[in-house]
Subunit: 364 residues, 4 copies
Amino acid sequence: MVRAAVMPAPGEPIRVMEFEEPRLEEGSILLRTIYAEVCGTDVHLWHGRLEGVPYPIIPGHVNVGEVERVKGVVTDVNGKEIKQGEVVTFFDVHETCQNCWFCLVAKAATRCPHRRVYGITYSANEGLLGGWSEKIYLKPGVKVIKLPAGISPEELIGGGCGLPTSFHAVERASIKMGDTVVVQGSGPVGLSACIFAQLRGAYRVILIGAPELRLKAGLNRGVDVSINIEKVGIEERIERVKELTEGRGADVVIEASGNSQAVMEGLRMVRDYGTYVVVGQYTDTGDITVNPHGDINRRHLNLLGCWGFEFTHLYRAIKLMERFHHRYRWHEFISRKYPLKEANRALQDVEELKVIKAVLKPAK
Amino acid sequence: MVRAAVMPAPGEPIRVMEFEEPRLEEGSILLRTIYAEVCGTDVHLWHGRLEGVPYPIIPGHVNVGEVERVKGVVTDVNGKEIKQGEVVTFFDVHETCQNCWFCLVAKAATRCPHRRVYGITYSANEGLLGGWSEKIYLKPGVKVIKLPAGISPEELIGGGCGLPTSFHAVERASIKMGDTVVVQGSGPVGLSACIFAQLRGAYRVILIGAPELRLKAGLNRGVDVSINIEKVGIEERIERVKELTEGRGADVVIEASGNSQAVMEGLRMVRDYGTYVVVGQYTDTGDITVNPHGDINRRHLNLLGCWGFEFTHLYRAIKLMERFHHRYRWHEFISRKYPLKEANRALQDVEELKVIKAVLKPAK
Amino acid sequence: MVRAAVMPAPGEPIRVMEFEEPRLEEGSILLRTIYAEVCGTDVHLWHGRLEGVPYPIIPGHVNVGEVERVKGVVTDVNGKEIKQGEVVTFFDVHETCQNCWFCLVAKAATRCPHRRVYGITYSANEGLLGGWSEKIYLKPGVKVIKLPAGISPEELIGGGCGLPTSFHAVERASIKMGDTVVVQGSGPVGLSACIFAQLRGAYRVILIGAPELRLKAGLNRGVDVSINIEKVGIEERIERVKELTEGRGADVVIEASGNSQAVMEGLRMVRDYGTYVVVGQYTDTGDITVNPHGDINRRHLNLLGCWGFEFTHLYRAIKLMERFHHRYRWHEFISRKYPLKEANRALQDVEELKVIKAVLKPAK
Amino acid sequence: MVRAAVMPAPGEPIRVMEFEEPRLEEGSILLRTIYAEVCGTDVHLWHGRLEGVPYPIIPGHVNVGEVERVKGVVTDVNGKEIKQGEVVTFFDVHETCQNCWFCLVAKAATRCPHRRVYGITYSANEGLLGGWSEKIYLKPGVKVIKLPAGISPEELIGGGCGLPTSFHAVERASIKMGDTVVVQGSGPVGLSACIFAQLRGAYRVILIGAPELRLKAGLNRGVDVSINIEKVGIEERIERVKELTEGRGADVVIEASGNSQAVMEGLRMVRDYGTYVVVGQYTDTGDITVNPHGDINRRHLNLLGCWGFEFTHLYRAIKLMERFHHRYRWHEFISRKYPLKEANRALQDVEELKVIKAVLKPAK
């Protein structure tokens, strides 16, 4: 039997339950979970803030595991066979259809209406299709990536879903070499955004967030200036960014805060003709007031939403992790590892910002 | 003596006054005005809605005239000499410095703090530096464009400043061939945006505005569908756009309405991963409410402000006018021509939407 | 039994042969061919100029047909069911894998090593997988597009594969509104490139090719200037382009000639900082000499190859055909219709440029 | 009197001559030269390989100096006054006109026909308008950049003109985060290209060049793999790149070799759908053979020339130097400093690749 942590319904305590080991279809893989991420989205799931989630679910959309069994021959995108015993991660977004208008005409696969996501859009009744489980069933067609030589499971899961999410946001920001970049929010997405901004041309990265522990994690990874929102008020924050940019504002601001009010603040931090990427508003945290003349039109602003990520972002993000892990030490983002039965506790610690990154370690 | 219509201060009636004919500096030109535009910005100027305007001013920032005198040798961008008797227009935005951070580093000349604009940022005390005048003094360095063979003064002024403004907005929209484009607003900017959208790849153009006269002007110029906001309510408008786009919304929406509420409406008309260009908010017409999650982030939206235009936009817009004027008949946008002394009336007619395009004809 | 024209091997005469009607798999379609294109690629196939072709083949990669039978429910990209009796075309490039590095990481599906192409990479032994046949078997997953209302089979096949190919080339050229565009080659690709260049922002289109009949077809579709290579020498051709562009050369040149020497000529027609798209070199027609300093580096040139097309190009090209078919009359590109048994003749006429577009009409 | 090294004519020995100290116009600056670069272009100048050079000239187009005198008030792009005693560099490309088609319509200032370049397009008879001189006369309008705090004259001149040149090439390459980048050529341009490629998103940088000293300089600055062309043959070099890229070739290749044959080699190192930037062909070193089908079209290649640089590139490159000089130690590229009278020797050492970077130190 396989033990998994199940979220029965919004607001109900997570319970460890037993499942039968699945029979493998041709082209599928059974993964023994080494680590499963507990991320802010899981907190949203527990509060029922996402639509159309088929509770009960096994949460967990980013995972590292060891291949226990493969049925038939499965290869990665480079045509290399995935073998028993290898340590891998996988792309949680499954079954984008490559058959619909969004996939084929707009080439916007993250908006494909058919996409399914491990740990979010699959019910626990459908199988071991979430990461908070001793074993995960990788359906045929799920894209698997081998951990590069030298990358530990801790490093990969330390990046978590913040890794490809922030990668996508930084790509979308089209930073020009020499730009000043502000990142709002010092959670896993914000911290990795600070890293990728440096790897993508930033001259100076300013991190705005809290608590001090997280800001320090940024400063230890090349962030040039941090501003603690618990100590510095909004007007002063904006003033500080202006001072650092000859009075103009930052060339690029990336919002990764999860707080809608941050968007109003961030709009005042971008320079005219600058770019503002909103990636932290994964759920609705309220409306804001915008002045189309002063905030958008006269500013010649680029205001860009950034939703989810595609396989290419995950693949490329891991490439950069392979190259720069010594410099950026993603594994240190893991504040604490929890056994499956402490999933509730992990969720609570994430919600209360007690940890940067919480991971479950399901294996006995 | 030269007669010019002077706006003494916000809210005060425009008065025709006499000025001495200017002495020409080396490299300057004296233009005999054939037509001067009266545009929505002039209405804003009269209401005192723009900051830092040095009243009294001679309004008028787009003009066609005949070269009366040239001091020395002046050439156009192709190196061709500007000669007496030629009919020309000129780029109203003067003295972008090519010496500041915005001009040189960001390459965002429309935000150059040194830029001066004919008819807006020059005081009447500084000379004949606005178009509502029998003669206009073109300072050395003002960029002059000869009217192409076959283009009449009426066609050029019929396009007016809506021509390069909408050109810039359409360029910024990065329409893909085959896109459905919604244009909000059927004034001169909106109508030319409909034209350029067609010349830039649109499969279908939907024009939303009023009154019927203006919508008809659009339909006669290739617009596929028009929606009259005086007859069709907001929800129904949005519904109509959805119906025309397989339920997804338009690929591109261009706001050219001058009404901040239109932005909230337009946001609901763009498809996921689509582009929304805000070009009509030249002055502050009020705040709007936006939901960063639902409107921006989850939608993966491109929300782009578009301010002013550069010389390249004016030059290229006139190229397309040269080629396609028979198809698009910009001169028909002129509803009425006024003598200088009826400038107040012209302003009022523009404000009350009685005309599509009002032009002054200063010459005796 | 189904009659199909089979190309047994390079250089051998095409023969009409009989095949059994196929049994349909779930999700497949049997199409009754209305028209099948005979294009330059088919000439290359007959001369054995493409690698890895599994002769014998049934050629024909662009087709229009009537749905004779559907097994199960098949939908188009908009989710609309494909029904018996409907007239459709389909995307000839099949089975890009969405599983390899090119498909997923580089997002360059036209270089997917797993792609299969109707009429080119399938052997006649594998079934009715080419268009020169009374019936075509559309395997499950083949992307089908219904002909828009108002578009006749003649119009669609008159565009042929030149339609999406030139669409792709024009997209790649990133024409700026107001640009002057030269198209080298007046075959189906070149002629449609002239059309799309106009629909994508060109101020002026210059068509260089032969014979006169084809140039006339361009001039009747908005081309501004044509140059007949049978009458005007290379130096004079280049000189003529310079004259039309203030001595600078064209902003964009699109090579669609199928002759490698044309590339050397075209390089001299592009302006500094301009763009040159090479789309006509589908097979090897010889080396050329290039000077990296004078042709590339000092010119700050964009020299772009353009290979094949993706579904989005075909879909969008048909959208524009739907909107603009009255203006551009693609059906008139069809010079002659041939029965299956005259496939050899059709091939010869294409090779000898006797026709603009040759189509087979397989049905009895 | 001011001593300067004069190049009288191609092939003639450089001579130190005396000039009168210039009288300053309003807005001009007299600079006391701290260092002047000797670069490959100066070798070309000495061989007479550039067209239209008004010999005799004072060479030297990148320099660092101390402001000796300012006539009037001169400011930098941020509006900060340039003061006596400050250490600065300046943008050698002067008098792009902002008045011509290339400057204004195409926005391609590096092709402005009016541009003048210190040390290249000015005759020694026109004044101290080159860097190989004790003092340099900065004409009104020359763009001056103050050295950022912490940046020494040695660091700036160690970057030299390779700094903004390679910056421009890397910008043009549009590297995607995670790309593998090959740099051909290990001179100052190639070495800085390796640095900027890392700062712009590269996963892996492969440097191909010689001699070992230069490759080592690259490896000490983050280059992942070097290939010595003196030891490894062409076929093996190409093979090595393929091995490092799963057999596909590099995503981006930047040619900075100054050897036209390198272009043929580089074309074989780029992957399909990849990008090749040619920046090292500043003079004509011979023709090459290209196959338009196999090298360009079927490869869907982006082949981009890169000419000169604009102010924004220099400004931004210095920003990144400010931030990353401790990591990249540009001053160590200086192999040797020469007094004015040894200019001939310096030139010879550059030509013979005895040095990475040679600088003149004109001051007594």
